[in-house]
């Protein structure tokens, strides 16, 4: 059984967006440990450099700074990469606001980063035939909007709900080409997604009590779910949403 590891990513080339921090950085770290060759992208170059520096075997990895809300930058990114075995779409933002305060500026920004950027990047990667015959796409969606409804979460929830629907359509249309497509749907994870001070410590503690496991998740706990979906261990899994939420959606 020496070296037996069905979750290995040895020799797989994987593109990861939102790799400058949070779940994207943790995913990069785990994928590198499991042997993947990574192409990392984010709008935040400083964060990308610091992710790259934390990786195993860092010379085989590279990063491309990109603003994926701009078509020309998506095209440039796609033109700079070769054939992929994996793609993790992870970049995301939020800004909590009650329905009465939903506004076009914030909604367009959130939709543009959380929904349209992954849609158009996926569309172009498929169109340019950048996926190998045994490849895997993973979208970081959320339980929010898809399985749970929370005060102030309308704009983020809408953006993630739409992405969840897109994931299933990609899965359906790409299966014939050997491309699988799935999502991870995390509950609240300790990342920089919410600006410090958005919620008080008291509110956070109260919110954690709504999780049967009485805590928020760590980025690595989501990253390892993404690893499973990227690896050949999930070779018959497509169109699936893997909930990683400490039991939050059990209620």
């Amino acid at each position: 059984m020496d070296g037996y590891n069905p979750f290995s990513l040895e020799g797989k080339t994987v593109l990861i967006t939102g790799a400058a921090g949070g779940i994207g950085r943790a995913t990069s770290v785990e994928c590198a440990k499991l042997g993947a060759n990574l192409i990392l992208t984010d709008i935040n170059e400083e964060g990308l450099v610091s992710t790259i520096e934390s990786l195993n075997n860092r010379k085989v990895h590279r990063y491309i700074t990109s603003d994926l809300t701009k078509d020309e930058e998506i095209d440039l990114l796609v033109s700079e990469i070769g054939v992929l075995d994996g793609f993790v779409s992870n970049a995301g933002v939020t800004k909590p606001a009650p329905v009465k305060f939903v506004n076009r500026t914030d909604l367009e920004r959130i939709m543009s980063i959380n929904t349209m950027a992954p849609m158009f990047l996926t569309q172009r990667l498929l169109r340019k035939k950048k996926f190998s015959k045994n490849s895997s796409i993973v979208f970081t969606v959320s339980i929010g909007g898809v399985y749970t409804t929370a005060f102030g979460n309308a704009m983020y929830g809408v953006s993630k709900g739409a992405l969840q629907v897109f994931m299933k359509n990609v899965a359906l249309e790409s299966a014939v080409n050997g491309i699988r497509c799935n999502s991870v749907n995390p509950g609240m994870i300790n990342t920089g997604l919410l600006k410090p001070g958005t919620y008080s410590e008291e509110d956070r503690q109260k919110d954690m009590q709504t999780y049967p496991m009485k805590r928020y998740g760590e980025p690595r706990e989501v990253a390892l779910g993404i690893v499973y979906l990227l690896s050949d261990a999930s070779s018959f899994v497509t169109g699936h949403s893997l909930i990683i939420d400490g039991g939050k959606t059990l209620y």
Binding site: K129, E173, V176, N177
Partner: protein, 76 residues
């Protein structure tokens, strides 16, 4: 519009079919890889490249690639 270019765009919608199989006289419904999804891709390609809206009847009544090319050309 040129048929050579049309055939190139047509062939781009397929992944596994040899390029040499695409000629004006190719009976495209009989290609192993041809599916309803590829038919939809061809309709979308014609809309994007030529600004022409094809309907399902245009697809089913075209036997060869050239037949389809002529339908698109008539609508440009």
């Amino acid at each position: 519009m040129e048929i050579k270019e049309f055939i190139e765009h047509f062939a781009e919608q397929f992944d596994d079919t040899e390029l040499s199989e695409f000629t004006p006289r190719t009976v495209f419904h009989e290609l192993d890889e041809y599916t309803s999804l590829i038919a939809l891709s061809i309709i979308a390609m014609v809309d994007e490249e030529y600004g022409v809206t094809l309907n399902a009847n245009d697809m089913s009544s075209s036997v060869t690639i050239e037949d389809l090319f002529n339908k698109v050309k008539a609508k440009v």
